[in-house]
């Protein structure tokens, strides 16, 4: 017996050593994870709201505890009774185009994928086109879409490019020099720290709080989020590309080609000026329903892309929609 026990001792020692190695390796693995977690801010931090005047609404609670997998903000078609424009806006309504009018075949932009499939929307007073807006500011021109009576969703880089944009002007349903709903200024600009502080294009979104309630007339888009892949879902995209006649609305239809955690990719043809455009489709309880905010031309994926409306983006959009002027 004694000999057997003595024979076993080396084996026990080696097993003990093996266990020590195992524990050490596991500790290293856990330590590495913890270090990596510490080195990156939590995603929720990057969705922290910032406002041009420092007035930020309280954050809405997330559905984490409810294990929700989707969420919807419902659209509204508007009254379409043309507003009586205040005197200041009459000038804006009669504004003459100053930017170039370029034939579409003059350029071969990176973000037109294959033949240019865009078609012009001339009936910009019909819904939902009247809820899509041409936006001008000191940064440049962009597109946006109404998500409430006085709130326009757009790309973060359209309203914050190191500094907040100034001279922001929003023209819903504009078609060339025709501005059927006049124009509105901004009382406040919203974005998130992931964009304004970190310039991270996963967080490239924001909103303009208007000094008018034009959305009651034009209506607004719904928007929704879902956690599962959106590959194959339709993507309708309309906005104001800079390579076409000034301030004219163009649309192209495709589908989600690639779903990322914070971005959607699609082959809708776009051009500079279409940042902030709605990327939408329809569901029984939400049509038209925004699923992304267009932001970038083609990247390494080979597709154009936009900021996906995730739960965190949805909550912020809803928060901005419900915030007072």
């Amino acid at each position: 017996m004694y000999r057997r026990y003595a024979d076993r001792q080396p084996r026990l020692k080696s097993n003990f050593l093996g266990l020590l190695v195992l524990v050490a390796l596991l500790a290293t693995s856990v330590g590495t994870s913890a270090a990596q977690q510490d080195s990156q801010p939590a995603a929720s931090d990057l969705h922290t709201i910032v406002a041009s005047d420092g007035v930020t609404p309280e954050a809405l609670p997330t559905s984490e505890s409810r294990r929700q997998r989707w969420g919807v903000s419902t659209p509204f078609a508007g009254t379409d009774i043309l507003p009586l424009l205040p005197a200041a806006d009459l000038d804006a309504a009669n504004e003459v185009a100053v930017a170039p009018v370029l034939p579409g075949d003059q350029v071969s932009p990176e973000s037109v994928i294959g033949p240019d499939g865009r078609y012009r929307i001339t009936a910009t007073t019909s819904y939902p086109y009247r809820a899509i807006a041409f936006i001008t500011s000191n940064i440049g021109s962009c597109s946006g879409w109404l998500i409430g009576p006085d709130t326009v969703a757009t790309a973060g880089h359209c309203i914050h490019n190191g500094n907040w944009a100034s001279n922001v002007r929003v023209y819903p349903g504009r078609s060339s020099s025709s501005t059927p709903y006049g124009s509105c200024g901004a009382t406040r600009l919203y974005s998130v720290t992931g964009w304004t502080r970190d310039r991270n294009r996963d967080y490239d979104y924001g909103a303009i709080k208007l000094n008018c309630d034009v959305g009651d007339t034009t209506g607004w888009f719904g928007f929704r989020w879902q956690s599962s892949s959106m590959n194959g879902q339709s993507t309708y995209l309309a906005g104001y590309p800079g390579d076409k006649s000034y301030a004219t609305m163009w649309r192209h239809d495709d589908q989600v080609r690639e779903t990322r955690s914070r971005r959607l990719y699609y082959a809708n043809d776009t051009y500079g000026g279409q940042s902030g455009s709605p990327v939408w489709n329809g569901r029984s309880n939400c049509s038209p329903c925004g699923i992304a905010i267009h932001a970038y031309g083609r990247d390494s994926t080979g597709y154009n892309g936009g900021t996906r409306i995730t739960e965190a983006v949805f909550n912020n959009l809803l928060n901005w929609k419900n915030a007072p002027k």
Binding site: D7, S29, A99, V107
Partner: protein
């Protein structure tokens, strides 16, 4: 004895393999491996985009006579492989013919277009540490 030492070696080898497998599992379930910035929904590890440095490309556009040209559309296109994603803003020159783009470092072609003028395209390298100035003279068609 030889059989026993072989058994010990096998035992050690087995423990080592178990340790390796567990270490591998520990890495695979690291939430950051699938939860970092913009990873594919499939859970495949993706390249984080992070917060790239950016810098200005600025300049002035004029005609052959030296007059400033307002309203010239200035469009960057990435010539890197793979291409940089370019924000889809429409930037035109102001009343003094000046423009400014803010872009991540890399190689681009800037195209200047205005009705009545021949388009011009210029290669530009945007650097992280200093802004680049590109002044252009457009020729009448």
């Amino acid at each position: 004895m030889e059989g026993q030492s072989q058994g010990d070696r096998k035992g050690r080898m087995l423990l080592f393999l178990v340790a390796l497998v567990m270490f591998g599992c520990g890495t695979a379930v690291n939430p950051l491996a699938s939860g970092g910035p913009d990873t594919p929904s499939s859970g495949l590890p993706g390249q984080p985009d992070g917060a790239p440095p950016r810098n200005r490309v600025q300049g002035q556009v004029s005609d052959k006579g030296g007059a400033s040209l307002p309203g010239v559309l200035v469009t960057p296109r990435s010539t890197d492989a793979p291409p940089q994603a370019v924000p889809e803003i429409a930037i035109t020159t102001d009343e003094d013919g000046r423009y400014q783009w803010v872009l991540p470092p890399g190689n681009y072609e800037l195209t200047f277009t205005q009705n009545g003028y021949a388009p011009a395209t210029v290669a530009v390298t945007v650097m992280a540490d200093r802004p680049v100035t590109v002044d252009i003279i457009l020729q009448h068609r």
